[in-house]
Subunit: 162 residues, 2 copies
DNA sequence: GCTACTCGGACAAGATGTGTCCGAGTCAAG
DNA sequence: CTTGACTCGGACACATCTTGTCCGAGTAGC
């Protein structure tokens, strides 16, 4: 069980977009986090497909959030990048083998499936309880200096000086 | 994000072992569930390595639970088969790039990492709250007929008659 | 002592995630 | 209006991991 590493990138990008005044190109986000630009583009496409961010084409284009940060949950981002289906999939092995249970007795999921799905629901609930705005607030509180001001300044500097 | 499919097999095997009077060979468990015997053996080895089940060698050998079923949680099985490390691993990308945060300011995990770990903790707590005994009880309650009696009888029939 | 049965770890194949690339479309500037 | 350069979007290889399989070591019973 391993989550796509791109989820971390996507979340950081969403937090950065919170502070951005205008559209931010994918290449710039990749440079800011020092990650592969081509691969980050794929994650951002996933966010765009899910309707969390909007793409602006042409010069001075880029990505921007479609909704206020407090209306985007962490679960939204995770599902957009990592896929919406639950980690556990029941293969109904109770209906196989010599002692297979009849299909009419399997109208409700088996006990194992129920337990796993309950855990999955708890996980999703925890992720749904946190919004991008919460993350941004926590990040701001974590450091003494204003991180977002620095990011805004760096984004404004168009040319790629280190 | 996808969990190993072997987790489902392992859980079913643990529930079956609850009802078994003596050691059960891996081949028999595989036949009962109609799954690959070679691959199921690997999962059972994982359970054995984790100390959840004990192997008895030689003729009339097999696997049996080392502890009472109410002292084995679903989380134990999941971690034994799927690996104990959490799904989300923070790569500390905040310490990279042109605006890298200094290492001394990163003594605590970042907000994103905290949120993901909180969700992971909720997931684990839900899995830890359910024991194999609970699963066995629920399975028994799900059907009218006594499933475990049937399993016991099938296990007692040594030769592989369908 | 022998046989037959068991587990245990080492060895390939397929699937999924990771990483990269180039083309279509679009906005801004001249 | 033309040109240009910059943007995203999806299609194309590579790496890693899960899945699946195999045979050898060890052990209990006959």
């Amino acid at each position: 069980m391993k989550m796509s590493g791109g989820v971390e990138w996507a979340l950081h990008c969403c937090v950065v977009l919170t502070a951005a005044p205008g559209p931010v190109p994918a290449a710039r986000l990749a440079e800011l986090h020092d990650v592969s630009a081509s691969y980050l583009a794929k994650q951002l496409q996933g966010l765009s497909r899910a309707g969390l961010i909007q793409s602006v084409q042409g010069q001075a284009g880029g990505y921007l959030l479609t909704r206020p940060p407090d209306e985007i949950t962490v679960l939204d981002v995770v599902e957009a990048v990592d896929g919406p289906r639950p980690a556990f999939v029941c293969t109904e092995i109770r209906q196989r083998g010599p002692l297979a249970a009849p299909a009419e007795a399997c109208l409700v999921p088996c006990a194992i499936s129920r337990a796993m799905h309950a855990a999955d629901a708890a996980w999703r609930a925890a992720l749904r309880a946190v919004t991008i705005a919460d993350l941004a607030h926590d990040v701001r509180a974590d450091y003494e200096v204003d991180v977002f001001a620095g990011i805004r300044g760096w984004l404004a500097a168009a040319n790629g000086e280190t």
